[in-house]
Point group: C2
Chain length 283, copies 2
């Protein structure tokens, strides 16, 4: 655990960097980013120790790829080209199928672990990096059997030290289910924000009327479009399916209201109240 490389020094990569440096104060944490300003910021904020190039990856013990998922498709194979046989490379992308497919036949496939830590905030960039982001969070690992056993072990040890719980899943199932429990939430939130902003654009005072409930439902509309656009693109089929079902449920609710069937409106909400028990399982 000597040389750690963070590719993409934003919220996700930067938060890994901060915790790893705390766990291993002797380690060198290198940053690679196409955004020079972010690299300088990350150094000033002591998120990373120094900048590096792809050529330096030959020194890496661990490489964390934390960039938008479209960029991962081109960067990950390149990273694998450079690393030594002893390096473990993992990503943190919110889609897994296309990424796993992309490196399926790469000669260094066994150096890669497909990961999706379910952690984040609505903020982005090096300034958004925080300690303990991953504590008590789920990390979904896909195709674990495709990763060299010793390198799996190295990554799992780090995840345990960061306080994460591990769930194993195949990439197809990951992308399908994450569309429901994460991608759809982001769209519902963005479109809620859009609906209210459009309506209220000439009445700035109106937002004084908004409370914590509104804030909670539109929080995700602060998320980075640069990160989310490629996620929706890669997971297009699944996301469209969730949107269809969501829109149908909203139309049905509206129909019940139009019909004046408020007993059914009550039942819709009461049935969904059971989300309480489900959420109790979420940190």
């Amino acid at each position: 655990m000597n040389n750690i490389f963070i590719i993409g020094v934003g919220l996700i990569g930067g938060s890994f960097a901060l915790d790893i440096k705390k766990l291993y104060p002797q380690s060198n944490v290198f940053g690679i980013d196409k955004n020079e300003t972010h690299l300088d910021e990350a150094i000033n904020l002591k998120v990373i120790d120094k900048k590096a190039n792809f050529e330096d990856l030959k020194l890496a013990d661990i490489v964390i790829v934390a960039i938008p998922v479209d960029a991962t498709l081109t960067v990950l194979p390149k990273v694998l080209d450079y690393v030594s046989d002893n390096a473990i490379v993992f990503d943190a992308g919110s889609t897994k199928e296309d990424i796993c497919l992309k490196v399926k036949n790469h000669p260094k496939r066994r150096n890669y672990l497909a990961a999706h830590p379910i952690a984040g905030t609505e903020y982005s960039g090096p300034k958004a990096a925080i300690h303990n982001l991953y504590k008590n969070k789920t990390n979904i690992i896909c195709e674990v059997e495709e990763t060299a056993f010793k390198l799996q072990e190295k990554a799992l040890k780090l995840f345990a030290e960061l306080g994460m719980r591990i769930r194993y899943m195949n990439p197809k199932a990951h992308d399908k289910h994450i569309a429901y429990v994460s991608h759809l939430s982001h769209i519902s939130s963005f479109m809620l924000g859009k609906t209210v902003i459009e309506k209220e654009k000439n009445e700035r005072d109106i937002f004084d009327m908004a409370g914590s409930g509104f804030e909670s439902t539109v929080r995700l509309a602060k998320s980075s479009p640069a990160m989310w656009t490629p996620i929706f693109e890669q997971n297009k089929t699944n996301v469209i399916e969730t949107l269809d079902e969501y829109i149908n449920n909203l139309k049905h609710f509206k129909k019940l209201m139009e019909d004046g069937d408020f007993e059914a409106v009550y039942n819709e909400m009461e049935t969904t109240n059971h989300i309480k028990d489900i959420l109790n399982g979420i940190q």
Copy 2:
């Protein structure tokens, strides 16, 4: 500020009771509720001092009506029948037009102040009552000119002591705008919860994949159907309008995805990101 009557000893009424008792330890806080269990709970939790009947309202200095908005339509006129000329009665309902209309010609109309404190949590009942719920929150007052000046003053003094900021609005504008910044959020959240539960009912493990983003967007789906059904019923026209716009925005987003126009998808999100600045104004 001697005798305070709380009608409906749940989250909203109970939280008023707790703060008022703290501000005025010598006051008597009476509770009226059709749910006897809630009254007993409220006494045990020291949310109220004792139970009371409508006949006792003649002793009241302040009456707070904090019950579902359909019940308010029948209870509020009855309360006004009983109170003395020196009592100020205010409600906390999330709709204002029907309620104001209902008491428009009541002989004691000037004892009533139409209020909507924008505060709450997704929990309900006396157990949900908390201190400082109203601190730094907005309280929307409608038709202030219909309330006796001295009684306005009494209520406004209390709201100031509770730390609330006041906004004045007519009932029609209140109901229209609150549909956007509050009622729609609740439906979007309930339907998001429904969509995910329906899909994932046979795969309980899947909720391990849900993170804080999902939790934030479905938080309001824990809300009380008994409170929300009559709100949607009273504000039917406005809520249906917001639902139409929300559904259209979602359909448009889906269409952009189907067309593969991810540049437009990016722009949709980037434009809405400006919600950040708006939310900075919300506590």
